[in-house]
Symmetry: C2
Subunit: 592 residues, 2 copies
């Protein structure tokens, strides 16, 4: 069964040496001294290793089951959930007035990586609750916040998001769930929602559903959509649980993975709902949560890959098979360990250089959200809004690919469920789909974010890359290995943007046909930037005489690998983009 | 539930217009007139559509189960197996003297694609039998052939291959199963074999295991290995079934996919075995079967992708979601079908251009095997030996990737098992692993095949590409769209080979670090060649006034897509290869 050890040192490297958060002017960041964050990460790491990770494979095998509308989570989940509750982990980055600890979002994300790596399916119960709290805090009335948030922050109650219906997911404009206004100001919600993660379970006393539905008078399409709070049990004014609401799980889906999380069909049969935010402005309310939710899914992509990688490394060091081409490395054994073989290294280096780059990228993204929320920085807000589809789409595509790579290290043993490597692949697969399938992320990036506000966010990004290169051009250690490749990759990204500008106006398909490649091109440039920044930090630590030379040297070697062997992918993405719409759209639909 | 229709027209296009088999001088090929092969493919297509495909998803859900050593296959498999038996499908390309129909191997492969697409797990029972027959035909005594082959050809009995043990798969030199010689010339086989596909089941009266084991006196490593026939029931001189042999399935593995095939742990407790081939030359006996077995797995890679593709297309045409960026295409409906969206097209074109190119590549490979076996053509033998790891490694990596792509078209519906798209991904995953994990294919390609016989096979390949380009350079239709990109890609492949020659001698790791990229680079060049050849055929058909213009135009458009958007990948593979061993090997093992 796979094991997991939180990579606290790598996380702290990003926080303290790459992002240098304790020196940041974002309110709250000056408290984030290494000792303090280290203690939090260590504690999270212990829970992850000792409680969550051991439940991951059993939770996959056992799965959830439904009996008369009651969903049972796998054995051990209840006790583990109690641990999360007792530790106040869900409230880490929630406001103190609602029972949280008021730490920056960045810390929630750093801890989140650890919990997700250990047990993604389990962590979703908490993660979705956190997302629902975000919506209520952003759009709820004071009374709604007071009623729901403290109990959700404490995990007495959990939350869900209800968007998808059988006939629509991406295109919410055609959803059918109806909200009928009642005399008392509430609504009767009627319709069916599907793919509702944590829609029903036995971990909490109440479940607070956030539901998109159409109320009369809103017109066609997404304009007619409003957002409603629909609690499983209605809540009295004193906070007590009242009547069971007319909402129930009709079934739970058999899925490829995340079996420990109950994915429910939710039936709303005139359930009592309460409008949250403005009437007919439900889409806007959902969208304000999107950045965080999508960053959270990008995190899942690399967090699962991290767990898979750790086990692939252990196996590669342990499994004896064949001899090194350069002479036996384990001459007294029957064979050498797998890790001597260059192609095994290639595979492991792909994983390692991705995961570490992705972590830096995601934590940087989280710090931009903090800067936007806590310091009201509009540039940070614009930048993270641009980068969000990249974080979500690129990191989940690559995270899945790396989970597959890790599974491959095990050979035949990777294919049987007993070893647990198949689960990482199966679990990671969903991250490419939910919270907006990755094709939709690419569409969002190219069709909306790129040109938003006159394109100033992407220009800000280019400025940032340029500045970093300029500031560090004097460094011999960075120049050839890091800055030159970064500059070339960034030029490819600019050329792609230019192509869209010149061709997308005449024919939107010319841009959209390249949207997926653009998302990946952008992702590579971001990871290239993060590796250049990480290399600078490592270089400085070595120059400063750190006594942890191996750690920093490994950072440099891993970064060099990424720059030399992954970053050049930008050229092919650009080449594809520049072929325009023709190759993609040439075939009439009936010829497929 | 997914449906499947055999792409007989596409298969025949390759046979009749690209490979032009009926005009070939390979013995037996002149009989392969379009009407004749068409009738066979149609009949196979009917069985695939009506009998095998409908059992695919149920077989996945139900899986195999073991009770007291008896393995039960999923409901319906017995009846379907009887259909395969009655139709004589397994004997299609086996010698007539053993009850086969004596057709070329190529036809077996063309039909094999259809059966694998419809139900990969089911088809393995037959496919492994076919492989075992190949070993017996190549290395068995006349008596062994007479005893086993006719009953296996007819599928009264099935066969297996037993290589892997718990501690070794790739590195068979360290295997532990022992063969003790007996006075009567037989051997007592003792040991445990794992991951034995179709190791035990209820579809046949007897199971003929081919088992690698070490007999005394063979020395260390692979030199000591011999191959043995170990029947489940011993066979009397009159062909009757005798005593149950001391071989039994200890358990069946829980796997990620191919649940309809029983993957068994086989325990040999002094089982009676009969030497096949020369003592201590078992590895050689296995290797002579490798080309065909590995080509068969490469076929699985694209055959599963074909089935997934068909369903992705159907969904993309049916599912209404969003509006085309260039204006509504289905204005009377609530939304446009997915297929209007450029990124959906991009995804589908990736799949289509891969599958069709892969089919041509595989059928060409099969024709090289026929040319080698039937015409004793040493050049063909050398070429297919070089191309085999490319067919296996590249087509299965890409086949899996395309199954994932097809699943992605379904959005959330692709993740739930009910829709059947997850199964294609899970089934395809094994093809990258078994019959030599793809990293081992890359090692075989670069470490062995490339330089074999003084490198003359790869030179023959380059000659072939060059000749094709030269012969067709006058064609305007081919020049810019097909020949120029093919030439560039082939140059990349040559440069990569050159890099290995110049650096691999000094440091084998410099070549091996690039082995995986080389395999993919080579694969792209092969598919580029196949598309150029296909384009030529399509062009000629159009020039000849074919009244099936849409079909040939689609071939050209699909080929152009591959050349414009996939083939340029050769540049990045070359760039990676040229970084040599350093980036890959820089990190000490303890830094992973």
């Amino acid at each position: 069964m796979p094991a997991y050890t939180a990579p606290t040192k790598d996380i702290q490297f990003v926080l303290d040496e790459v992002l240098i958060i304790s020196g940041s002017d974002v309110p709250g960041y000056s408290d984030l001294q290494p000792d303090f964050t280290g203690a939090i990460l260590d504690e999270a790491g212990k829970i992850a290793r000792d409680i969550l990770a051991p439940l991951n494979a059993p939770g996959d095998t056992e799965g959830c089951r439904i009996e008369n509308g009651v969903v049972h989570t796998p054995r051990g989940f209840k006790e583990a959930f109690a641990t999360m509750k007792d530790g106040g982990w869900n409230g880490l980055d929630l406001p103190e007035e609602f029972g949280g600890q008021g730490l920056p979002y960045l810390i929630g994300i750093a801890v989140g990586e650890i919990f997700v790596s250990a047990n993604m399916a389990f962590n979703m119960y908490q993660g979705l609750t956190h997302g629902a709290i975000g919506a209520i805090l952003a759009h709820g009335t004071e009374a709604q916040k007071a009623t729901y948030v403290p109990r959700m922050a404490s995990l007495d109650w959990t939350g869900t998001m209800n968007l998808t219906e059988p006939h629509c997911g991406t295109d919410l404009g055609i959803l059918r769930t109806r909200a009928e206004p009642q005399k008392d100001g509430s609504y009767k919600i009627t319709g069916q929602k599907i793919f509702i993660s944590a829609g029903e379970h036995d971990l909490a006393d109440n479940i607070i559903h956030l539901v998109l539905a159409k109320a009369p008078g809103g017109g066609e399409g997404t304009r007619g959509i409003s957002l409603f709070i629909v609690p499983k049990f209605l809540v009295g004014e004193d906070g007590s649980l009242g009547q069971r609401n007319a909402v129930a799980a009709g079934k739970i889906e058999e899925k490829m993975g995340i079996h420990g999380n109950a994915t429910c069909v939710m039936n709303y049969d005139g359930a009592t709902g309460f409008l949250i935010g403005d009437l007919h402005k439900g889409m806007r309310a959902m969208f304000t949560m999107m950045n965080e939710a999508r960053l959270g899914v990008g995190l899942q992509g690399y967090a699962v890959a991290e767990a898979a990688y750790q086990n692939a490394v252990a196996y590669a060091k342990d499994r004896l098979q064949g001899r090194a081409a350069t002479g036996a490395k384990n001459p007294d054994g029957p064979a050498d360990p797998l890790i001597v073989h260059p192609d095994i290294r290639r595979n492991l280096m792909d994983q390692k250089s991705f995961v570490e780059g992705a972590r830096a990228f995601t934590l940087w993204g989280a710090s931009l959200i903090d800067r936007s929320h806590r310091a009201g920085d509009a540039e940070a807000e614009g930048l993270i809004s641009l980068l969000t589809p990249v974080i979500k789409g690129f990191l989940t595509d690559k995270g899945f690919e790396m989970a597959v790579n890790a599974q491959q290290i095990y050979g035949g043993h990777g294919y049987i469920e007993e070893q647990g490597m198949s689960q990482f692949t199966r679990d990671a697969r969903i991250t490419m789909i939910y919270e907006g399938a990755n094709g939709v992320q690419a569409l969002d990036l190219v069709g909306r974010k790129l040109a938003a506000d006159g394109g100033k966010h992407v220009l800000a990004f280019f400025g940032l890359v340029k500045r970093f290169i300029k500031e560090n051009e004097g460094s011999e250690a960075l120049k050839g290995d890091f800055l030159d490749p970064l500059k070339a990759a960034s030029k490819d990204l600019q050329a792609a943007g230019m192509f869209f500008m010149q061709n997308g106006m005449k024919n939107p398909d010319a841009a959209l046909a390249g949207s997926y490649d653009f998302m990946h091109l952008f992702g590579h440039v971001c990871l290239g930037l993060m590796w250049a920044r990480s290399a600078k930090a490592a270089q400085e630590a070595l120059a400063g005489g750190s006594d942890d030379k191996d750690f920093y040297k490994a950072k440099l070697a891993t970064g060099r690998y990424y720059m030399a062997r992954q970053l050049p992918m930008t050229a092919i993405h650009l080449a594809r983009i520049q072929t325009g719409a023709d190759p993609v759209m040439a075939l009439p639909a009936e010829s497929f």
